[in-house]
């Protein structure tokens, strides 16, 4: 019995040693570790953050010839892992929720522009949407705003403190501008998952819910007499963003139909003559002390990948809009974006 054991042991040690040599090297000009860990700000491996990150990280690992692994640890553990990793062994991918949490004053969210290096943007999820029951009296978002202006209470189911709330805040702000003093009629029903938001709509405990094109499109195809039937009233993405989706759109809703729900068809004024839009963008975050050469290396590798054009097809198949900006550009862009939203949120607070 013993000789077999020791043989098995030897074989294992040998293979371990091989694993060691192949994983320890990467390109010389690229001070990235052979084993890169990518933490994401979501705990779900079925969600858009994981899906998007795994598409990009797979390509990146191939390009740089390293091992990379996406770990769905969630927001706070991801921030913590990022802070501990000064040598760039761990990097993070997340979306606008990273700074929105800070703007909404959610406990534990730092100012990412101060505390980390904002890396490249990689894609947009254009699907952030608001829906009503199919038999709702409100046909359009204008109806909803007018009803609120007329003193009717509108309950909107959202998940507080992030991407789900920003559209709600913009709506409330638009009512404030159009019917000053009436914005209190737009009321948040704070809840959790998409399932909970849908449930509130089925129960009649919410008039409008935040949802997504991906998760709710099939509900919009149900016959009107079905309790579960819904209707889109607003998609927060920019017109240009939706215009880049595949012509077939999502499910039985074509791109043409989706475009009906974005600006300028659906207007949510922001005050300075502009309409509010929100694209949920995914981007990298690095530790403040990460080697600039490593930052540059990932930028270059991603630029190469996006130049080849294969990744765009993959992203579009999964209803993401490719959106690569190298880190410096991305940082300025996202900081500007966050300032815009800060104004809305602060105006509502006062």
């Amino acid at each position: 019995m013993t000789p077999i054991w020791s043989k098995a042991c030897l074989a294992l040690l040998a293979s371990a040693a091989i694993g060691l040599t192949t994983s320890a090297q990467a390109a010389d000009d690229c001070p990235l570790p052979g084993n890169l860990r990518v933490v994401i700000g979501s705990t779900s491996t079925g969600g858009d953050t994981y899906q998007n990150s795994s598409i990009v990280v797979d390509q990146l690992a191939k390009k740089l010839d390293i091992n990379a692994k996406v770990d769905a640890v969630g927001v706070m553990p991801a921030f913590q892992a990022l802070e501990r990793s000064r040598h760039g062994n761990t990097i993070m991918i997340f979306h606008d929720g990273a700074y929105l949490g800070n703007l909404y004053g959610v406990n534990g969210y730092p100012n990412i522009f101060d505390k980390y290096i904002v890396g490249p943007t990689i894609a947009i999820n254009p699907g952030n949407a608001y829906l009503v029951p199919k038999d709702s009296p409100y046909q359009t978002l204008d109806d909803i705003m007018a009803a609120a202006g007329n003193g009717k209470q509108i309950r909107v189911a959202i998940q507080p403190g992030g991407v789900s709330e920003i559209g709600f805040s913009a709506l409330k702000n638009a009512v404030r501008l159009k019917y000053p003093g009436k914005e209190g009629n737009i009321v948040a029903v704070n809840t959790g998952s998409q399932a909970d938001k849908n449930q509130l709509l089925f129960d009649g405990a919410a008039d409008v819910i935040n949802g997504s094109v991906q998760a709710n499109e099939q509900y919009t195809q149900l016959p009107a007499d079905d309790q579960k039937a819904m209707r889109f009233v607003w998609i927060t993405a920019r017109h240009d963003t939706i215009a880049q989706t595949e012509a077939a759109g999502m499910g039985d809703t074509s791109r043409e139909q989706l475009l009906q729900y974005v600006t300028p068809n659906v207007k949510v004024p922001m005050g300075d003559g502009q309409d509010f839009t929100f694209d949920k963008e995914f981007f990298f975050l690095y530790n403040k002390d990460m080697d600039p050469a490593a930052v540059k290396c990932i930028d270059t590798a991603l630029a190469d990948i996006y130049d080849q054009g294969e990744i765009q097809k993959q992203q579009k198949r999964s209803f993401f809009i490719p959106d690569f900006k190298p880190s410096a550009q991305a940082a300025t862009y996202l900081e500007k974006k966050s300032e815009e939203y800060r104004t809305i949120i602060d105006d509502l607070k006062s």
């Binding site: 779900s44 491996t45 029903v189 909970d196």
Partner: protein, 502 residues
């Protein structure tokens, strides 16, 4: 006949491979079905939709079933939903009936699995429409019902209830999570603890700490039962398995499978509630429940048929609403989206072939699970002959892997293991009851969310009674469950007294 072309040897090989790997994951303390599905998710991309799903369903069924193995042999539940299997499984193993207990569990498992697959196949859309009638209020009442079960499971009423409430209290430590609709503010802790406890304690490390590590500490304190003269677990010697165990168990099987399927269907209630509910209903309603908790096969039947019935149940909302019923099906959604398939109310109608193939895969996984486990059990059961100085260090090691990996690599979860290992040890020394505590811990967070959100929505406490006929019916169940628990306790006390007199 597009379906037949998918029924390739590859299809069935992947189901078998998935089931086997799932069983192994489920059988190792600390590793769970969810983990098995999560680590194999990236593989599905290479296999294509149908074969990928086949693999994942195999892992799911295998993982849930495998959890009974350590529950019976080591008194450590391999997955949270096999807690109730330990109640009767371990006492049987101590009598030398480990193999008999496991075989009983396997037969109950395949019954539960096939039952729920049939329910899924025939009634999915109808049941989904029924499930959405359960709003915050009704879900809270289901959880309350599961919590009242504590009264019939504990040996001392006051200590049991205290332990249950303590479990709820422990589960609330951390922030009121914004992903559940909370406000993200911390409570029940000091500021300096926030760095680690912002997301609270995770269930799996708590569970394996209390059941795994504290068991090891208790044994270490005794200097090991391996010493001659002490009651070491025997492999043979007790009664043998025969199908006659199932005589008179049909009601139990159907009731428990029904409970499992139904609880699986309700997103957010938590699959572990299913086996707890099924177990206590058997205890309350069977003609003779006096042996339950001391090694009665009927307890294993209730527990294992209900936890395997979860699989089909949890797929109901996934496939007919696009909403996962539990943590494992939440990962299955990823498999669909990776392949560009939308899940929602139109899924079944739009993807008839995939739907039929999933049912075939689910049935095949259950049959293969039965085949693999039934014939391998004799060898698996030998685990208890491994000396503890070899076995225990390995269990600790695997618990570390499980704790670390459950949230994809968080060191604090490993420390949670130690904290709750020591806590579980002390708790048992001072007479706290571990099972009510864990049930409270599992259900505490959802209880909070549904309770607080119900009040936020309606602003009045009477809503819990007046919301719907379903709510009223659930109150009746709660009342009956409590009354039975008290009745059984009084009756047992009388019997105990009268037997003393004799």
């Amino acid at each position: 006949m597009d379906i037949l072309s998918h029924l390739t040897p590859m299809f069935f090989t992947l189901i078998a491979a998935g089931t086997l790997i799932g069983i192994i994951f489920g059988a190792i303390p600390g590793m769970t079905a969810t983990m098995a599905v999560a680590v194999c998710l990236p593989l599905t991309y290479a296999f294509g939709l149908v074969n990928g799903i086949a693999l994942l369903l195999g892992l799911y069924v295998g993982g849930i079933s495998g959890g009974m193995v350590p529950a019976v042999l080591l008194n450590i539940p391999g997955t949270p939903s096999s807690i109730t299997t330990t109640f009767d499984g371990y006492p049987m193993a101590q009598r030398g009936e480990g193999e008999r207990a496991l075989k009983t569990g396997i037969v109950a498992s395949i019954f539960g699995g096939l039952f729920s697959a049939a329910v899924l196949f025939f009634f999915a859309p109808v049941l989904a429409d029924f499930a959405i009638k359960f709003s915050y209020v009704e879900k809270f009442l289901i959880i309350l019902l599961a919590l009242t079960v504590i009264a019939s499971l504990c040996s001392n009423m006051l200590m049991g209830i205290f332990s249950g409430v303590l479990g709820v209290w422990l589960s609330l430590i951390g922030t009121y999570s914004i992903t559940e609709g909370g406000n993200g503010e911390p409570r029940l802790m000091f500021d300096f603890m926030q760095y680690y406890l912002i997301d609270g304690f995770s269930l799996l490390p708590v569970l394996i700490g209390i059941f795994g590590l504290s068991t090891i500490l208790l044994d270490a304190e005794n200097g090991f039962a391996d010493a001659p003269g002490q009651g070491r677990i025997k492999l043979k010697g007790g009664a043998r398995f025969s199908f006659s165990i199932f005589k008179g168990q049909l009601v139990n099987l159907i009731r428990s499978s029904g409970i499992g399927t139904f609880v699986g269907m309700l997103p957010g209630v938590g699959g572990s509630a299913a086996s707890v509910l099924a177990y206590s209903q058997e205890k309350n309603f069977s003609r003779d429940s006096s042996q339950m908790g001391k090694g009665a096969p009927q307890g294993i039947v209730a527990s294992e048929s209900s936890n395997n019935a979860l699989t089909g149940g949890a797929l109901v909302p996934l496939l007919s609403l696009g909403i996962p019923g539990d943590s494992t099906t939440a990962i299955l959604i990823g498999a669909f989206t990776l392949q560009g398939i939308q899940v929602g109310p139109l899924f079944i109608g739009n993807n008839m072939d995939t739907w039929y193939l999933m049912i075939i895969a689910l049935v095949a996984a259950n049959v293969l699970m039965f085949g693999i486990m039934y014939f391998a059990i004799r060898h698996i059961a030998k685990v208890i002959e491994v000396p503890k100085y070899i076995l225990y260090p390995l269990i600790v090691m695997m618990c570390v892997v499980g704790a670390y990996a459950i949230n994809y690599g968080i060191m604090f979860d490993v420390w949670t293991l130690l904290i709750f290992g020591v806590f579980g040890y002390v708790a048992q020394k001072i007479g706290l009851e571990v099972v009510p505590l864990i049930i409270g811990f599992i259900l505490g967070k959802s209880a909070e969310v549904y309770f607080v959100k119900s009040i936020e929505s309606y602003g009045n406490l009477t809503i819990f009674f007046t919301k719907s006929p379903i709510a009223a019916f659930l109150w009746v169940l709660i009342a009956v469950s409590v009354a039975f628990a008290i009745y059984l306790r009084v009756r047992n006390r009388r019997r105990g007294a009268s037997s003393l007199v004799e």
